[in-house]
Symmetry: C2
C-alpha cells in the first residue's frame, strides 16, 4: 500500500520547515532565498553529491558533517552557489553554526546547500541575520513546505514537492521532499537540489544504500542527468518517529521503504523533467525488448535528451526518424531493422515505425496523440527482455520554428 499524500517535506512526523527572504542577492527584494528543514530529534542521514570535478564549498562541508551518518537540520539558499568563491567553506560552516546555535544542536548536525551564481562570495551575513526569522517561521505544515520549496528555486518555473505514505513493519511510514532543478534543453541547465525527510527508522548504512539505489533509477533517468553542476545534492533525513522496527538489513521492510522512496523520487524527477522554460509536454520514453537494462536506459535517455526529438514533440510532429537517429548515436549497438516505435498518450496509441521502416499512419490521430501534455514514446528493440523508462520535456524555443515543422 503506497499513497501519495500532501505535506511535502513536512509530511513525515517530527519535521518542520520554513522559507524566508534573507537578501542573498541584493536586487531580489522579495524572493524567498533561504530554506530550513529541521527534525525534532536526531536523524540518520545520507546524501549523494555531484560528480563534477569542481565541487561547491557546501559539499565539502556536508561530506565532513555526514561522516557520522547523522543530522538534525538542513539549511539551503538560492542566489549564490558558494562555488569557486572566496571563503567558501568558512562561510558554509558559518551557515551551519548559526543554525546550530539557534536550534541548540552541534554544527556537525547541520547540512548546508547552495545554488545560484558561481564565483562570488556568498552574503553569509545576510543569511546569519535571517536565522532568527527563519527559526521563528518553522512549522510542520503544507505551507511551510511550500515556503521552503520556493526558497530553493532559481530558474525553476514551478515548485517541486511530493510526499508518500506506506507501511513498514506494520507501521505507517511517511516520507516527503522538496526539490529544485529543471530538465530543460540539456544537462547543464543548473543545479539540482533535493531534500527528503522520513519518519522511518533505518540505519545509516541502509538509508545510504536506499538513496543510492533510488537516485540511479529516478533523478539519473531524466534528461538533466549526465552533466552535473558544481552543487548537485540529494539528501535524506530519517528520524525514526514512525516507531517501526529499525531497518538494518535488506528484507521486506527495506523493500517497502525502497519502493516508497523510489515512488517519491520518481515523482520529483518527473516534476523536474517537465519544468523546462515554457515546456508543454512531459515526455516518457520506455525502451522494451532491450538486451540489458543499461542498454535500454542509455537509448531511452538519448531519446529524451535529443533536441530534435524535443522540438518534434513540441510541434506535435510524429517525426520518429529523430527518435531512431537519437537511438543510433546513443553509443549502444543494435539492429535498426528490428526496431518499432509507438507514440501514445491519453488520446490514443499509434505505431509509426516497424522493423526500422516507416509505416503509413493517420497523421490526424498522431497530431491528437502528441497534443496531450503527457506523451509517451514506446520503443521495442526486439533484442531481449530488459526495459527502462526515462523522462524529459519538449522545447518551445524559437528555433523549433525551423525544426518543429521540418518533416512536413
Amino acid at each position: 500500500m503506497l499513497n501519495f499524500i500532501d505535506g511535502g517535506v513536512c509530511a513525515a512526523q517530527g519535521f518542520r520547515a520554513a522559507g524566508v527572504h534573507a537578501g542573498v542577492k541584493t536586487h531580489a527584494e522579495w524572493k524567498k532565498d533561504v530554506a530550513l528543514i529541521v527534525s525534532d530529534v536526531d536523524c540518520t542521514a545520507a546524501a549523494v553529491f555531484t560528480k563534477n570535478v569542481v565541487k561547491a564549498a557546501p559539499i565539502h562541508v556536508d561530506l565532513r558533517h555526514l561522516a557520522d551518518g547523522k543530522a538534525r537540520a538542513v539549511i539551503a539558499n538560492s542566489g549564490n552557489a558558494n562555488a569557486c568563491a572566496p571563503q567558501g567553506e568558512e562561510n558554509a560552516e558559518r551557515m551551519c553554526s548559526a543554525v546550530a546555535q539557534a536550534l541548540g544542536c552541534k554544527p556537525e548536525d547541520v547540512l548546508v546547500s547552495s545554488t545560484g551564481v558561481i564565483g562570488q562570495r556568498i552574503n553569509v551575513e545576510a543569511i546569519e541575520t535571517a536565522i532568527p526569522t527563519l527559526c521563528a517561521a518553522l512549522e510542520r505544515s503544507a505551507e511551510a513546505s511550500d515556503a521552503a520549496g520556493h526558497a530553493i528555486m532559481t530558474t525553476d518555473t514551478t515548485k517541486k514537492e511530493a510526499a508518500v505514505e506506506t507501511t513498514v513493519g506494520g507501521k505507517p511510514v511517511r516520507m516527503g521532499g522538496i526539490a529544485k532543478g529543471s530538465g530543460m534543453i540539456h544537462p547543464n541547465m543548473g543545479t539540482m537540489l533535493c531534500f527528503l525527510t522520513t519518519d522511518c527508522a533505518i540505519s545509516p548504512e541502509m538509508i545510504k544504500t536506499a538513496l543510492l539505489e533510488t537516485v540511479s533509477v529516478s533523478f539519473n533517468r531524466i534528461s538533466v542527468d549526465g552533466d552535473t553542476s558544481t552543487n548537485d545534492t540529494c539528501c535524506v533525513l530519517a528520524n525514526g518517529l514512525a516507531g517501526n522496527e529499525p531497518i538494518t538489513a535488506k528484507g521486506p521492510d527495506y523493500d517497502a521503504f525502497l519502493s516508497a522512496l523510489r515512488a517519491l523520487c520518481t515523482e520529483l524527477a518527473k516534476k523536474m523533467a517537465s519544468d523546462g522554460e515554457g515546456a508543454r509536454h512531459l515526455i516518457t520514453c520506455t525502451v522494451q525488448g532491450a538486451k540489458s537494462e543499461k542498454s535500454a536506459e542509455t537509448i531511452s535517455k538519448s531519446v529524451v535528451s535529443s533536441t530534435l526529438t524535443k522540438a518534434a514533440i513540441f510541434g506535435a510532429d510524429a517525426n520518429w526518424g529523430r527518435v531512431l537517429c537519437a537511438m543510433g548515436y546513443s553509443g549502444e549497438d543494435f539492429d535498426p531493422d528490428q526496431v518499432s516505435v509507438h507514440f501514445a498518450s491519453a488520446a490514443g496509441d499509434i505505431q509509426v515505425c516497424a522493423k526500422g521502416r516507416g509505416l503509413d499512419f493517420d497523421e490526424d490521430l498522431a497530431k491528437k496523440v502528441l497534443t496531450e501534455h503527457d506523451v509517451e514514446i514506446n520503443i521495442s528493440m526486439g533484442e531481449g527482455e530488459a526495459s527502462c523508462t526515462c523522462w524529459g520535456c519538449d522545447i518551445t524555443y524559437d528555433y523549433i520554428k525551423i525544426n518543429g515543422d521540418y518533416r512536413t
Copy 2:
C-alpha cells in the same frame, strides 16, 4: 605558402559544379535541392561517415562505390535523408546511375549523399528528371560552387564554402569545398555534409589518411560533434591535374597537402560552428597547459558545448563560473585550483579567474570584449604542455532571458 582563394568546390582545376531545384520536397517550390560535383577526369577519393548505428542508404552505397578508392562525381540532395526509408539503397543507386549515364561513367564512380527528413521514400523520380538540367548547368565557376552550396542547405542559415592554394612538390595545388551543417545548441542539430575537391595528385591510401587526420582536428572540434546524424559524410576527390609528383607516402609533400586540407576544413568547421540560428558569436575555446591534447580537447569541447556558457556569451556576461562548471563535468580529472580563465577578443583581453578563484575585473571592459563577434575563451590548466582549440557559437533563444543575466 598557403592562401585562401575564391571558387569554393570549383577552385581546383578540372572540377565543375551545379545546383538546381528538382522538387525533392513538393512544397519547397524554389529552393535548390540537388547538387552535382564532377571532375573532368577520374579521381582518387576517400570519405568518412557517421558513427551513428542507424546509417542512411547513401552511406551503404558509397561504401561500395569507394571500395576501389576512385570516383568521378558526387550527387547530393536536400529535403530527404533517404534514411530508414523504403527502397533506400535502390533509390540511392538510381541517383548514381542517372548521373553516370549522363556523364558517361560507371555508376560505381558516382558518390551520393542525402540530407533532410528521415523515414520517407525519397522522390527519386524528381531527381532523375532534373539530371539533364543539372548536367547542363555544370560549370567551373564561383557561381556554380555557390549554387551547389545552396542546394545542400537545410536548416543552415548561411552557405559554407572555402578554398585554399598551396604548393606541393613545387606545383601550385588548389583545394576547395562546400559544406552544410550547423553547430547550434548541440549535437543532434542535423546532418553535416562536406564535399572537398583538389587537383593534387595523391594515392587513395594517402588521401584517406589525410582525410581522417584532418576531420579529427577540424569537424570533430566543433560543438556539433559527438552526436552524429544518420547521414553525416565528408568526402574528398583528388584529380591530380595539378601535375605534382603523386603523394604516395608521408613526407614534405604530404605535410604540405595536410596543412592545406586542415586549413580548409578548419575554415569550413568554423563556418558551421558559427551558424546557429541567429547566433551572434563564434566562440573559440583554447585550453593550454593540459596534461594531454586529448584532455585539452575534451575540456575545450565541453566548454563550447555548454548551453549555459553559450547563453552567457550571448548576454556578454563574463560568467566564468559556467566555464569552470563545464570543465568540471567534461569527464576529465584536473585540479580546479590551478585553473585560470581569460576572455579575449579584438576589444581586449581580460583575466577573470586565477587559481580557480574569481578575480575582480573591469565589468565594462568585459562587456566590450564579449560584445565582439569573435570571442575567445582561453583556459590554462597548469598541468602540462598540451593544448587544443575547439569552436562553438552562442545561443540567442528566449530562454537566455533567464540565463543570460543570471549572474548580475
